[in-house]
């Protein structure tokens, strides 16, 4: 494929994926407010548009017009840079996530991910997650406020601790698939056991899936692990001093991380875009993307369901859970998988 | 195609910056960061030579250098915290008495 065509196709893919992702972030907020509202026996947003569907637009306009206040004693360069770091690295990890089978147009095979099929796709996502910790830590420190500092330190210590369990829980999947490339991991889940149970990684790797879900909930600072940003505990944690658009950027970063985690869980444990394929050619091309989106939606629903149901951990319980229970469990999973595959 | 010597010169300059930082800085944490900069310069040299001689052992060695650097940073920062608790300062010129 000539270089100019590759660049044009990549720009088009980036534009489409970013547009879909940012809309998905906005509507995940809407979904959360509706679902948590119904779980708490109330309606959620209903006034702005039918079923409150224009609520994200109203929120966006509100954030744009709010007064952007910079308190006087903050460390200005980092105060301004921290939400940028959080958002940029939350959106970057989408670059290596494939959404479906490669499509053939005009004799060129175009993979449905922004980059081509990277050999070390999973490692890049882990790397970007590691760098995202800086957004939180620097926001807490630069705010020059004891609540923000404590919230930032707690949040970044929590994220760093659970990154290890996150990585280890994925190694079981890697052993079974034999590659870091996300497309090859999905392709290793084609086919069926005994004719009707799909060969998804969740069935052999349910312990790995449990570790991944717990670690991912802690990485994205969601209930039951959201003490660092709990309003009743620490004022608002690391984003206390932020208002208007900068606060909206932290919010967007959190939901974009949620969507990335849901996409990864789908790719690694639930067979990615494999599902029943039927119908004419154009339908066959679109159905894998539709199955992928449906599975990601189920994941996001589970995320929001857990948020509406569980109380939050205290901080020492949270750290003890991460280091003393989840890490040994992930190691046991790794050893069991390695022994099973070696035989 | 980039000549191998360009990589080596970049590695040497990074190492020299690390040595300079180690000599002129007075804050103990910045001195530690200069040590990490020196280690990074050496890592670049290893990977460049591994690519030049097609010896994968160079990249494996970078792995070990990173592990040792992480262990050293951990223990070094713990020592800094312990020294700060007693001396209340991070300036190496003021940590000049064996016993307070």
């Amino acid at each position: 494929m000539p270089i100019w065509l590759f660049i044009v196709v990549s720009v088009i893919k980036s534009a489409i994926v970013l547009g879909v992702l940012l809309t998905a972030v906005a509507y995940t907020v809407w979904l959360e407010r509706k679902v948590v509202g119904h779980m708490q026996n109330r309606w959620g947003p209903t006034r702005v548009g039918p079923f409150g569907l224009l609520q994200p637009a109203a929120d966006g306009i509100k954030f744009l017009f709010k007064e952007d206040l910079t308190p006087p004693h903050v460390y200005k360069p980092l105060f301004l840079a921290a939400p940028l770091i959080a958002v940029v690295f939350a959106l970057t990890s989408i670059a290596v996530i494939p959404f479906g089978n490669p499509v053939m147009i005009d004799g060129y095979t175009i993979p449905l991910q922004i980059t081509t099929d990277v050999n070390t796709g999973l490692l890049l996502i882990l790397g970007v997650t590691s760098i995202g910790v800086y957004g939180v830590a620097l926001a807490g420190w630069s705010s020059n406020n004891k609540y923000s500092l404590l919230g930032g330190l707690r949040a970044s210590a929590q994220m760093v601790s659970y990154e290890i369990s996150l990585g280890l829980s994925l190694v079981g999947v890697l052993i079974m698939a034999g590659s870091f490339s996300l497309t090859q991991i999905v392709d290793a889940q084609a086919g069926h056991f005994w004719g009707f149970i799909p060969r998804w990684n969740i069935f052999p790797q349910f312990i790995g899936f449990f570790c991944y879900i717990m670690a991912a909930y802690a990485e994205t600072n969601r209930i039951p692990f959201d003490l660092p940003e709990a309003e009743t505990e620490l004022v608002a944690g690391y984003h206390t001093e932020y208002s208007a658009m900068k606060f909206a950027m932290f919010f967007m970063a959190e939901y974009a991380n949620m969507i990335t985690v849901a996409c990864l869980a789908t790719l690694l444990f639930f067979g990615g875009w494999h599902g029943p394929i039927f119908g004419p050619l154009i339908l066959r091309e679109i159905l894998p993307v539709f199955w992928f989106a449906a599975k990601v939606f189920v994941f996001l629903f589970i995320y929001i369901w857990v948020r509406g149901t569980l109380p939050r951990f205290r901080y020492d319980q949270l750290m003890a859970f991460g280091w003393k229970f989840l890490l040994p469990l992930a190691l046991v999973n790794l050893i069991a998988t390695a022994i099973a595959v070696a035989w | 195609m980039v000549p191998l010597s360009y990589y080596l010169v970049l590695s040497a300059i990074l190492f020299a910056c690390g040595v300079t930082g180690f000599l002129i800085k007075r804050n103990i944490i910045t001195i530690f960061m200069s040590i990490e900069l020196m280690l990074n310069g050496v890592n670049l040299s290893f990977v460049a030579f591994a690519a030049h001689w097609h010896a994968l052992a160079g990249q494996v060695f970078v792995f070990f250098v990173m592990v040792v650097a992480a262990a050293e940073a951990t223990v070094g920062l713990a020592i800094i915290i312990a020294v700060y608790r007693t001396r209340e300062t991070l300036n190496v010129d003021q940590v000049n008495l064996l016993k307070l």
Binding site: G152, V160 | P3, I13, A16, C17, R26, F63, M66
Partner: protein, 182 residues
């Protein structure tokens, strides 16, 4: 010969050098820490140019994402402030900077004089995780196990050094019945 390889090498190299010089020039340690993170990211780009994709990913995950987070934590916890200048530091600046400058120019000149026309292609030695893993667990198994023990020792040492010193024998409990201590 200007190729995209040379342009990318110079771009990443310029970022690495700018970060290294900024580390020396800044007075507040948090700025130095952020410059060092920029250096590490630029070096990860250089490793990718040389084909070492696993090493580049590990550099970002371990070095820039864990070791530097540790440095930033310690700077935040100890509330490190701007450096002050002492007599010793002025002497070091007067003698140190020219000395290191001269020696580094000497080294660079020697290397460039004696280099032949050996060139390194883009992605010269593909360091796929699988091949590195095989080498690590077959050829380098003993160093691997020894470094794992080294990390264990470092963890134990750090926990012991950074924990609060134990207090003396507990005082007599005040009258008032049993207390539930959590």
């Amino acid at each position: 010969m200007i190729s995209i390889h040379l342009i990318l090498f110079l771009a990443f190299g310029a970022v690495a050098l700018a970060g290294a010089i900024n580390l020396l020039a800044q007075t507040h340690p948090i700025n130095s820490a952020l410059s060092l993170i920029a250096v590490m990211a630029a070096l990860a780009g250089e490793y990718l140019l040389l084909g070492a994709e696993f090493v580049a990913a590990v550099q970002v995950i371990v070095y820039a994402g864990a070791v530097m987070v540790l440095f930033v934590f310690v700077i935040m916890l100890l509330n490190a402030g701007v450096e002050e200048h002492t007599k010793g530091s002025r002497v070091a600046v007067i003698f140190g900077i020219p000395g290191v400058l001269i020696s580094s120019i000497l080294v660079a000149w020697t290397v460039l004089q004696h280099s032949g026309t050996e060139e390194v292609a883009v992605g010269a030695l593909p360091g796929a995780p699988k091949t590195i893993g095989v080498l690590l667990f077959h050829g380098f198994l003993l160093p691997f196990e020894i470094t794992s023990i080294l990390i264990l020792i470092a963890i134990m040492g750090a926990v012991v050094l950074a924990s609060k010193p134990p207090t003396g024998p507990p005082a007599a409990s005040p009258a008032g019945g049993p207390r539930k201590v959590d």
